[in-house]
Symmetry: C5
């Protein structure tokens, strides 16, 4: 997952950079005060829309999304089927202290071990999933706000440049370069929004959905385990979480499953 | 279905191409670096928003939508009425090994054969329908993202061209052609969004809805079959899935149905 | 209903036409290749987004909306109260073969005659209403798509015209007229979207809502008739479907109703 | 309520008018054919989107919203507590013929007098509230449509003016004034949308919400009265409808209420 | 929270101000009649969309959001666990007269003391939460309306300036400065919307959500206390309201809690 985002972001930026460098006057594209208006202004305005922990949390969430991968659905199903087999043979207590791939799953197993009933487990895990989703969503929202604010700051910068240019038109030769500089903030704003903030916001939002689906899968499995469902039935039930093209492969991957 | 999309896409492109070729200076409309910025940039940015399997999956989904047609509602109803008749005469086991037109229907019939109760069948098939919808939706989302990103990349390209032009205006004669080239990326972006990405996204989304409706029809029928409903009642019940203008024809198509 | 749409569409077009004809150079506003790009291009792109039956069905739906009027709510309530009275006196069988104002109502009465219970009637009629709404909605969607695509095709045409003009600026005198022609496609696109496609889409959507409300009224009444509710109570119950200003008149219209 | 809208609409228009009159050449801002295109065109297009009763009804609704004020929540609560006291002491029949502040409340009291049970009362009043909301909403929708159509008609007018100007550029001196006139329709469209249609639409929509909340309050109270709830409990229950800052004042206003 | 908004708003404005002051002709950016059109016009139009109490209430809400901080989730949980312990030991009456951190919590505790059952408590507190949300939301809506109206008023001002300039082009030297002034209103409108109104609207909306979440937490806790749940179980249950990264810290903060 992270790979696609990295390739996409770097590839798009390199493409634009090469178009600028190979074109005429590449040096005109770097202007520190234009950059300050767009980048600094966007950061300040977005900060004003959130709290400091949310603002910083968004960058942490983006970093974490790049570093850590979610487990594959197929792997999680196999892990859960194994847990179900143990719970069936040794009872829920056999799961005590088991090392699992996700803290959400661990807290669910703890509930099994504590002997909670199925309704309580479902209720508590659903609440935890919704709360996690809620907090995680703010990461995506910060980058979405950036994608909204950056073009507006770009336009504000361009309007300032145009007003300055229009009120000082004695030297006709200066009009072209002045207008070029004025347009730079619009360019910066469009690039930040389209090529950086919006892809990261979409990727974070996608990841949150996938994390929530994974937690729904865990919840379904844990409730079924608590109810003493046969591990094979659990496996069949969870297979609906697999993308359609992986469902056919599932029996091949575990031919001796029955 | 595929036919309309093919005619529409090719027709619109030919119309624009002929307007360009019959006009003045058709050669000015092809510019490889402009094309690279818009097409390459859009692909990279969209890739960054998704994972590699989703990105490639979208193109596969588009191809599949062009190649395979969904069965007609009327044909599916007839197939299901036949299945209901067999299940009524020979019991669910009489359906074992039957060759049906859709894998979704096949898995539902397997549940009948396995003797699952109606609630379980409904629950499992509903879950499968929602999961299929969920995974399929990403195909449409990739093309929707393309339709959003392409005009933005076009504008970025035009801004770069304008900045280059404005900072080099010594030769007034070069201004027109330079501006023409700058506008090309906006034109490319608008064409990709309006005439390619957006129609494919809408078509995929439409097909997903129709596939989901078909799966809902299968579910309704299978639950009714499990409950031992009379095939004639099932036929009447399913006829609400037909478009209004086909409902009148339905009895004509099966005059001896009663 | 149809009257308002007809007056509105024709009135707006005549207004614009007279502004063009009374102004300078009315002949410059007609350009066949611009018209072909916008009208033809829009048709092709919209066709690509739907299937051929849906595309043609939208025009049929628009025609039907112009030709046929929905019955007035007050008239439908009176018809239903009469039906309720007959069902009360003669039993549901007294309704057999009765000529009613809508096929939806007819199929509901057939259920009464067939002796279905109230839950089945409600369920089947609700399903039919939702399915009708679903199919009818595509008519509105086709015109909404047209309203979206036409301005985009207009912009594409204008960009093509601008690129052609900018790359051939030897004769300064030709710039004005060339730019005028380039702007024509934007004008055509805006006119098609604002003055034709969008009003028809909104009108179809409004009519679908009204048809669905009428079907909800029929369903409420038929369920109440099946339950043997007193016709006077049914009348009172249905009066909530009348617009507030007609509710006061209702008792006047049927002074001997009690 | 009406006061704020009146002050706002008149104030904004006076501000713009004074900016025009105090500026250079105020007479250039009045152009009858531009006004006809924008105002007439907008009216015709909006008419086409609705039916004649809906179109005229919107203006009536706007007038009514200016003329009649909704009762204050605090006053309604006091009225309902009084009604509850009477119903408690004398039974529902004691309410017969009572003069109340709203027709909705009157019809609810009639249900009490008729001896309907609480479920029927709730169901009928809820249905009436939703239907009223539904019909009232179209008033807001007509003005929203105006706010959408007016800028589009303004742009169409400007495009017509630009095409006329561009195809007749022999006299350079006429270009400026011709362009000024062309821009007038865009100005008219923006002013109608921003300063007239959109505020009225928002105000009508706000009023509808407040009317619906008031009807919900009446429903809650009437159901509680039918159930024989203590008037003091009803008062406490209804106080959640008061804005937070008025809740504290409530006990002060009725110190001897307990 | 307030800190982030203050830093963000002031920082962005200082950034733009320094870009203007350090640039050429900073005095051209102040124009009283442009400022009057945009600020005054926006205020009048927004006033027209709401009532006077709502309009003024929005500014009060913004001020309150800057002045008062919501209690930390962790602190509220600790407070509630303490309340639960008292209620367990001394019964609900032990809570009478207790000083708590929020009026919402106080009214809930009063219900406990009054001996209301759990369903009534949940129903009344849910109703109060929704009503509070409803009234509070209008604060955010007023600033959102400002963010919508300000750019439109800016465009209206610019169009007025352009029409004036275009109809008086005798002196070519005056065109530049006149156009600069015309653009000022667009700049003001964009700045008010992007850098002031929209951040405040978003911040108020965020705070409302957080307040509603806090009230949901109080409701959950109070219902559990009424049901006599063990304080330790309540603490565990409420911990799902903590952001994920604080959940791990929770046991550290209360090591002797078990």
């Amino acid at each position: 997952m992270d790979f696609a985002t990295l390739v996409g972001l770097v590839g798009a930026l390199l493409l634009i950079a090469s178009a600028v460098i190979l074109g005429v006057s590449p040096d005109v594209f770097i202007n520190s005060s234009s950059l300050l208006i767009v980048v600094g202004g966007t950061m300040f305005v977005v900060l004003a829309k959130f709290s400091i922990p949310q603002f910083l949390g968004a960058f942490k969430a983006a970093l974490r999304a790049f570093k850590f991968k979610l487990p594959e659905t197929q792997d999680s199903i196999e892990e859960l089927v194994e847990i179900a087999s143990i719970a069936r043979k040794e009872g829920p207590l056999g799961l005590e202290g088991r090392d699992v791939s996700s803290p959400f799953l661990a807290s669910g197993i703890q509930m099994l071990v504590d002997g909670q009933n199925d309704e309580t487990i479902k209720q508590l895990l659903d609440k935890e999933r919704l709360m996690t989703l809620d907090y995680n969503r703010s990461g995506s929202k910060v980058f979405t706000a950036m994608a909204d604010v950056a073009p507006a700051m770009g336009m504000i910068g361009t309007l300032i440049g145009l007003v300055q240019m229009l009120s000082n038109m004695e030297d006709p030769k200066s009009i072209g370069p002045a207008m070029a500089v004025a347009l730079l903030t619009t360019l910066y704003g469009a690039m930040i929004a389209t090529m950086i903030a919006s892809p990261i916001a979409d990727k974070l939002s996608l990841r949150m959905t996938e994390e929530a689906r994974m937690q729904m899968l865990y919840t379904d499995a844990l409730v079924a385990i608590q109810q003493g469902t046969n591990p094979r039935v659990i496996e069949q039930m969870l297979s609906s979480y697999l993308p359609p093209n992986q469902r056919d492969k599932a029996p091949e991957a575990e031919p001796s499953g029955g």
